[in-house]
């Protein structure tokens, strides 16, 4: 009798441990999946840029900075307004972002911007009837070089080249890790399912794991949102700040999605467990 009791206890402990490892594996798998669909995805970045109006804000900031530079360079305020409106900021940002996701660490290309700026200055000189003899090429070059610096600052994202390098190098290892974790999770689940004699026990141990995973995935966004850290990020420009906030909120919403999925699975498993348990006890009762 005592031996049977010990055997049952040992079995419970073993399946408890298997449930725990399944929870751990599913949690790590969730993190990998979130990373793949967010940080490692170019479309996630462009979607965050689109949803927070990043392109418009970058164009506005570029306009404002060039307007200020124009004030110090004898240019009318409309010059910056007209020039930036005619220049495709969105394609420049997209080009910059795309390059990093394919492993190209080229910095912002200023060639096109520089050419268009010189062309706009030529038009401005003609339009205003300014005598070209009075215009110093040196001063114009200085203006264009300062404008290019502003352009590079606006288009580029701080530390992005550094982070993008990791993204490119680790995307394949991350995919392998995700597959390995999925296989491990399936293997543990299979062990729980196929080594348990009673159906309700299978559902019970799987249910422990899914509830645990739902809790673990919920803790990350809860902690970040309660700390209010996202809105306190110290970034230089409004465009970068809004991009970061939009990006981070979207990223953490994926944790909520996975938490929701595991919660729904837990409810289903619990209902199945209750049904199977009732059937087992009724069967024994008869």
């Amino acid at each position: 009798m005592n031996g049977h009791k010990h055997h049952t206890k040992a079995k419970s402990l073993l399946y408890g441990l298997l449930s725990f490892f399944l929870t751990l594996t599913l949690f790590l798998l969730s993190i990998c999946l979130v990373m793949q669909t967010t940080i490692f995805s170019k479309s996630f970045m462009t979607s965050a840029m689109g949803s927070c109006g990043y392109y418009t804000m970058v164009a506005d900031e570029l306009k404002s900075q060039l307007k200020s530079l124009g004030d110090a360079s004898g240019l009318d305020q409309e010059f910056a307004q007209d020039f930036v409106e005619g220049y495709d900021v969105q394609s420049a940002v997209d080009e910059y972002i795309s390059a990093f996701y394919v492993g190209d660490t080229t910095l912002v290309d200023t060639e096109e911007f520089e050419q268009e700026l010189y062309a706009a200055l030529d038009d401005y000189i003609d339009e205003k009837g300014i005598d070209r003899e009075t215009v110093s090429d040196e001063n114009l070059s200085y203006f264009v070089s300062q404008a290019c610096d502003i352009y590079v600052n606006e288009i580029s994202i701080p530390f992005f080249s550094y982070v993008a390098n990791y993204i490119y190098n680790y995307s394949t290892p991350l995919l392998i890790i995700t597959i390995v974790l999925a296989v491990i999770a399936l293997a543990i689940a299979a062990v729980i399912i196929f080594t348990n004699k009673f159906t309700h026990r299978r559902y019970r141990y799987l249910c422990y794991s899914t509830i645990g995973t739902a809790l673990a995935t919920a803790i990350i966004p809860i902690t970040v949102q309660l700390s209010g850290m996202i809105s306190k990020i110290n970034l230089e420009t409004r465009s970068l700040y809004n991009l970061f906030v939009s990006y981070a909120n979207a990223l953490f919403s994926y944790f909520w999605i996975y938490c929701g999925i595991f919660f729904v699975v837990s409810v289903i498993l619990f209902l199945l467990y209750a049904k199977a348990y009732k059937r087992a006890t009724t069967h024994h009762g008869h």
Partner: protein, 230 residues
Amino acid sequence: MQQHNKNRRHSFNGKNFVILPIVFCAVIYLTLFFVISPSASSFISMGSLFFSDGAKDFSEEYNNIFVPIDENSSQAESSDSIPVSEITFPKYGEQFGELIIEDCQINARLFFGDDNVALNNGVGIYNGSSIPGYGKTILVAGHNNTYFNGLKYAQVGQRVKIRTSYGNYYYEITDIQIKQYDDSSAYDLSADSENLIMYTCYPFDELGLTPQRCFVYAKPLQDSNIDKNK
């Protein structure tokens, strides 16, 4: 058999569906904490540098703390000392006064700080210099195309008036010099006596960015009246 069934029914323990997942979750986070914290602590503390105490304000609107003093009031041109505790020192980006040079047709809002918002709306004091009344160097920047375009008419002997909420200050232009933008001999920020330096890009009305700056120097016509010990 009935006893056996009773025991089985009793083993339907709903508490396990709450306690065990919480235990799993706690063990996972504790494990992650002990595994990650030794290597990640430096990154975490470095990461905290990227966060401030509150959400950043990106408003293009500036705060105005300037309350003009009546020209005829005793406070306006008083030579009595003002305790520093009675002065609201402007924050970066705030308008706290006006700079007027009637002979040059200059009448500009005066900001503490010389960022784009300040220079788009007036003239700005470099925040590494001082503000009027403190007996130090006051370095004021403005665009040559807008608020400091009038400096092209500046001449030695002309008067400069700076109005603030704590008093009106008068200066007389003593010198005008053209220097390179990176010539640090153009100003002395460690000077122990009050002096006003206004500068803008030079030549005026030139197309393009110029490496030269027009510096206009002025000396105060009254003693520094802020008592820093009170």
